[in-house]
Symmetry: C2
Subunit: 199 residues, 2 copies
């Protein structure tokens, strides 16, 4: 029988795999390495995840949910669209400055699983779309729908690019200019007074 999908062991495997994947990549991280680091038997892993690919998807889903929960909590404390977008950028700055920051695991997954039909690709797609739609919903509180959609797309691209630059060691330039550019984009959208406070 498949163990319960909320088992503590299962979560331990996911956490261990996450740490290894983000540091060394997906293909470069072998199952043997994961079970050694997690200090579990190989069969325990394979009973929870019949294939490595399913473990990868589970890791991505877990990180996506965690991210969503964190933003949900932070967003609840902010009143205006401007503050909410600023808070999202703040979250990213804290992430970039984390000593264990290694870039975006979702972007990395896209690099290694480039087939649009692959479950990993789709998990990445869902996460990125989730953030885009979250920002779009926020911005709809300050501008028409069409403009909110465009601005959210631009902000997402900016954030993804900033994450890449941060991984290349340019954290200060990345986050600083992301804030500045976000302000310019929102000012360009024309409907968000006070947007320059993002900087």
């Amino acid at each position: 029988m498949t163990p319960s999908s909320s088992s503590a062991k299962r979560q331990h495997v996911v956490d261990t795999a996450y740490a290894l994947f983000k540091r060394n990549g997906f293909h470069a991280t072998g199952v043997d390495r994961i079970i050694a680091e997690a200090d579990i038997a190989k069969m325990t892993m394979y009973r929870h995840f019949p294939a490595k690919e399913e473990l990868i998807v589970a890791v991505l889903q877990h990180r996506a949910r965690r991210f969503e929960r964190q933003l949900d909590r932070l967003m609840a404390e902010e009143a205006t669209p401007r503050q909410k977008i600023a808070t999202i950028l703040d979250w990213h700055e804290r992430w970039f400055r984390d000593s264990d920051f290694h870039g975006c695991l979702f972007a990395h997954a896209l690099a290694e699983f480039g087939d649009p039909g692959h479950p990993v690709f789709q998990a990445v797609s869902r996460q990125k779309n989730g953030l885009r739609l979250r920002m779009q919903a926020i911005l709809e509180g300050a501008m028409p729908r069409a403009q909110a959609q465009d601005a959210a797309t631009a902000l997402l691209m900016l954030i993804e690019g900033a994450t890449l630059m941060a991984q290349m060691g340019e954290v200060d330039a990345a986050i600083g200019n992301a804030r500045k550019a976000a302000a310019a984009i929102l000012a360009g959208a024309g409907c968000l007074p006070g947007a320059s406070n993002l900087q």
Copy 2:
């Protein structure tokens, strides 16, 4: 003896490896697959590239040089900073719409070789910095140095994010909003009249 580094065979290996790396990733592409696809002997490859890692670096360098040459040629035909930036965005749109587009090989390399000391990481860093410095030099023809630097960083992040979105299937939204956001960023820098023509 090591064969001449400008051999036709060597270039054939680089081209074949490029096609495989971009479709399947670096770790997932085995040496056996490369030599089979290139239809050469394994020793031929290993005489030109003593290790797979050196082949990867050679592929990245070749693509970076090719990119630089293309932009050099295109830039020579444009007069104003605004036109030059627009041409860089046009180049990216054509790339995104290529039927064999699979995202940015350099970003993918960063995903698989995340150690900043690794030669692959450094090759990626050089390429991204090259594009950023190119845009900075262009913008210095229209604004003060400090602003050009910031705007170039913002444009680079935007382009990287757009490349990611394009890989996720959203080519139209990516390039359209990248142009719009680039115009807003340049307008925000305040020194590039007519920047809205980017759209």
